[in-house]
């Protein structure tokens, strides 16, 4: 395997792994704090059980998220030294603030996990909330750093030199808000559906129903609210990408030809040779509307992007379709759930509703990984959009393929162990 490809795959794998654990570690504390709040208020022991069960999950996912995050901070240099040499001083600001947020999260988690019956009960609860808030802040800051790669700012690029560096301007680059918003909501959607699905399964199996009903409801409400908000944030992102990275938008939509009244392409197989999409549903004008707010405005197609600056079209297109498809499915489930919750309370007891949530367990995370693929693959061939090519940033050390195999084995075994661990947590709850 060629070293460049190996380096990209290793990075993709590390991020793909980290993103799941980071999102769960970032969102679960909120669920946990809500359950904890109910326990403090109602004194119903079942809420305390839910809180404690979830806090064990938080501990496991925080730790795996923390180590995989530590690994990433080294991998940036191990795999992309020429990128970090230039980018580090420019986009380092969110990383240094993230260090603080993450540190506070670790401290607050120490208080929370070991503070039962030792701390004042409300102080104890607040430490749990701080775990959530500082986790979310870390996530937002890391995404701000990533968005800088999509929307580099805060420096002047002159004859290969990066001058007039302004780290604050770099942090508040044009993409930070839309990306951070989309990612944060995605974390709630994916974790919410995953957690709700697991508890729905437990209710169906008829074990410890009172416990799982409480847990299901908290997770499902978070998931449903977030799922309904996500299309709005997606719209902000689409308009933003259309302006800043027309090549990425064109690849997402397999939009080969620049045109007015551009159609929205749903599904299909992009044929890059003949520059068309087969078997797709096309909704006339909708892409123009979504990208610009006007059905008749022009949307830049791949024909305006030089070949060497085009991202891989098929991967970006499929990933985008998967993300949107999963997202829409979850919106539908969310709306149904709200209807049931407010209009048809009797359906709450039905098995089909629970089965639907069980089926939706992985949807959020599939959408999350797909969305991540869109933003990363869609940025190619650039590591810093329009400034530095990914191929020029890779480490000179040969043999990266071996390191890729090694990390793949490590991450796969970790994924297996974490799954076993979760399975055992759930089994333990049943007994």
């Amino acid at each position: 395997m060629d070293d460049f490809l190996a380096a990209r795959l290793q990075m993709a794998f590390s991020l793909g792994f980290h993103i799941v654990f980071a999102c769960i570690g970032m969102v679960m504390p909120f669920f946990m704090s809500v359950a904890h709040f109910y326990w403090l208020r109602t004194k119903e022991a079942v809420y305390k059980d839910v809180t404690k069960a979830w806090s064990r999950g938080v501990a496991i996912f925080f730790a795996t998220g923390a180590v995989s995050g530590t690994v990433l901070s080294f991998e940036l240099g191990l795999l992309w030294p020429k990128f970090m040499e230039h980018a580090g001083p420019i986009f380092g600001m969110p990383f240094s603030l993230e260090g603080t947020a993450f540190f506070i999260e670790a401290i607050a988690l120490g208080f929370y996990l070991y503070g039962w019956d030792k701390l004042n009960k409300w102080f104890h609860w607040v430490t749990g909330v701080i775990v959530g808030i500082s986790g979310l802040l870390s996530g937002i800051l890391v995404v701000a750093a990533n968005s800088w790669m999509n929307s580099p700012s805060g420096f002047d690029f002159l004859d290969g030199n990066y001058i007039n560096i302004d780290p604050i301007k770099a942090m508040f680059n044009d993409a930070w808000f839309s990306q951070a918003l989309h990612m944060s909501i995605a974390a709630f959607v994916s974790t919410g559906f995953a957690v709700a699905g697991i508890h729905a399964l437990m209710i169906l199996r008829g074990s410890n129903i009172a416990f799982h009903r409480k847990a299901f409801k908290i997770a499902a409400v978070f998931a449903a609210v977030a799922a309904c908000l996500q299309p709005l944030s997606g719209d902000i992102s689409a308009k933003d990408v259309a302006v800043r990275q027309p090549a990425k938008l064109a690849a997402m939509e397999a939009h080969f030809h620049t045109e007015r009244n551009a159609p929205l392409v749903i599904g299909g197989i992009p044929d890059t040779l003949n520059k068309k999409v087969d078997f797709a549903i096309k909704l006339p004008g909708l892409l123009s509307f979504m990208a610009t707010g006007d059905f008749n405005k022009e949307v830049t197609g791949l024909d305006r992007i030089p070949k060497e600056n085009q991202p891989p079209i098929a991967v970006t297109h499929y990933a985008f379709q998967i993300m949107v498809g999963m997202g829409m499915a979850m919106v539908a489930i969310a709306i149904l759930y709200f209807l049931v919750l407010f209009k048809k309370k009797s359906w709450l007891e039905t098995r089909w509703l629970l089965k639907l949530f069980v089926a939706a367990t992985p949807l959020g995370f599939i959408a999350l990984e797909a969305g991540w693929t869109v933003t990363e693959v869609g940025r190619q061939p650039w590591i810093i959009h329009g400034v530095l090519r990914t191929a020029d940033a890779v480490t000179p050390m040969p043999g990266i393929a071996y390191s890729f195999y090694l990390f793949t084995v490590v991450y796969l075994s970790l994924a297996v162990i974490v799954s076993i661990l979760l399975y055992r947590q759930i089994k333990y709850l049943r007994s």
């Binding site: 064990r56 501990a59 496991i60 730790a63 795996t64 923390a66 180590v67 995989s68 995050g69 530590t70 690994v71 901070s73 080294f74 991998e75 240099g77 191990l78 030294p81 970090m84 040499e85 580090g88 001083p89 380092g92 600001m93 240094s96 603030l97 993230e98 260090g99 603080t100 993450f102 540190f103 506070i104 670790a106 401290i107 607050a108 988690l109 120490g110 208080f111 070991y114 503070g115 030792k118 701390l119 001058i163 560096i165 302004d166 780290p167 604050i168 480490t395 050390m397 390191s403 090694l406 490590v410 970790l414 162990i417 076993i420 661990l421 055992r424 947590q425 089994k427 333990y428 709850l429």
Partner: protein, 340 residues
């Protein structure tokens, strides 16, 4: 502002060695404990490090972020030429962090523990070992930016007696910190004697492996003696460390656990000081006699000043919270006036 950043960098490294080191040491002494005493050691250590162990490892992240934001050339040079030991260290970090949580949070305590525990113990050993190798390699003058072949660029840069001996020394320092720390977590008269004996042994191991470092430096033509004893500050640091070690030896049997911890922390601080001050501001010594210096390879002024402010503001939040965390959970093993 650059000096603010440098002070934070040095302090983060020191705190990682002290707190993270004691944490690694917990796994290391479990390895060197007879099977009979292992559960006891494990339980005592877990009660002590459980609440703060995640925080202990944040110092490494702070140090690495300071390096790549403020001193990108230094960060990338280390990343390229010490790739292999860095990867080994990372594997240790992954294995250890996850094994620690798994063995404490697995819902069912069964044979899976037999999987987690060895992973935890051995990764506690290899992580500081490679950390020591990386630290030593950055100053051993073997990093050759011109080298074309794989071995001399990516292997001999770290694979030498000096680096390996510093790796061993780092491991023994971690074990030493952990044993001194654990004394305060035990009841006088009870388990404490067991851990005091252990502490005495680790002190000898530290002295022996320290001597090994000097021998390896001599073999590898690293002028370590000159670095340490070439200036008055180094001589003073080493002698005060030795004096405090003698004091510590006498205090081991007295009931003064906090004093012991302070002395151990002081000794390690002095060792790090003596090892770094003579190179300052150089942090990486290259094979051609040149070096990468914290002053000449710093980022642009705006970067450094915003980094310094971020660190200062961050420490306002972090330090009080961290001290409070340590304070609260140090109350716990107070056997004399435990209200329960």
């Amino acid at each position: 502002m650059i000096y603010v950043v440098i002070v934070f960098l040095w302090t983060s490294i020191l705190l990682y060695i002290l707190l993270g080191g004691a944490d690694f040491g917990a796994g290391i002494i479990e390895l060197f404990t007879s099977k009979v005493n292992r559960p006891k050691t494990r339980k005592t250590m877990y009660n002590a490090i459980g609440p703060i162990w995640e925080a202990n490892h944040m110092w490494l992240i702070i140090a690495i972020v300071i390096l790549f934001v403020g001193f990108p050339k230094i960060y990338t040079t280390i990343s390229i030429y010490l790739h292999i030991p860095l990867v080994c260290m990372l594997l240790g970090i992954i294995a250890r962090g996850t094994a620690f949580v798994f063995r404490n949070y697995d819902a069912v305590k069964d044979d899976m523990q037999k999987v987690y525990t060895p992973i935890f113990i051995y990764s506690s050993l290899i992580t500081p070992f490679f950390l020591g190798i990386i630290a030593a390699s950055s100053v051993s003058g073997r990093i050759d930016l011109q080298s074309a072949d794989f071995l001399s660029a990516y292997v001999y840069s770290w694979f030498n007696w000096f680096s390996i001996s510093v790796g061993v020394f780092t491991v023994s320092i971690c074990g030493f910190l952990a044993t001194i720390f654990i004394i305060g977590q035990t009841e006088p008269g009870g388990d404490r004697q067991h851990f005091i004996r252990k502490a005495k042994r680790t002190i000898f191991v530290v002295m022996f492996s320290g001597a090994l470092v000097f021998w390896a430096a001599y073999v590898d033509h690293v002028p370590l003696l000159y670095w340490i004893f070439g200036g008055l500050p180094g001589i003073i640091a080493i002698f005060s460390a030795i004096i405090s070690l003698v004091i510590m030896f006498y205090m081991l049997n007295k009931d003064k656990p906090i004093l012991l911890r302070l002395l151990a922390g002081f000794q390690v601080t002095m060792i790090l000081f003596a090892a770094t001050y003579i190179h300052f501001p150089a942090i990486v010594l290259l094979s051609n006699g040149e070096n990468l210096s914290l002053l000449t390879h710093q980022g642009q002024a705006r970067t450094i000043s915003s980094l310094a402010y971020a660190l200062l503001i961050g420490s306002i939040f972090i330090l009080p919270a961290l001290f409070y965390l340590i304070y609260i959970f140090q109350q716990k093993p107070n056997f004399k006036n435990n209200p329960d």
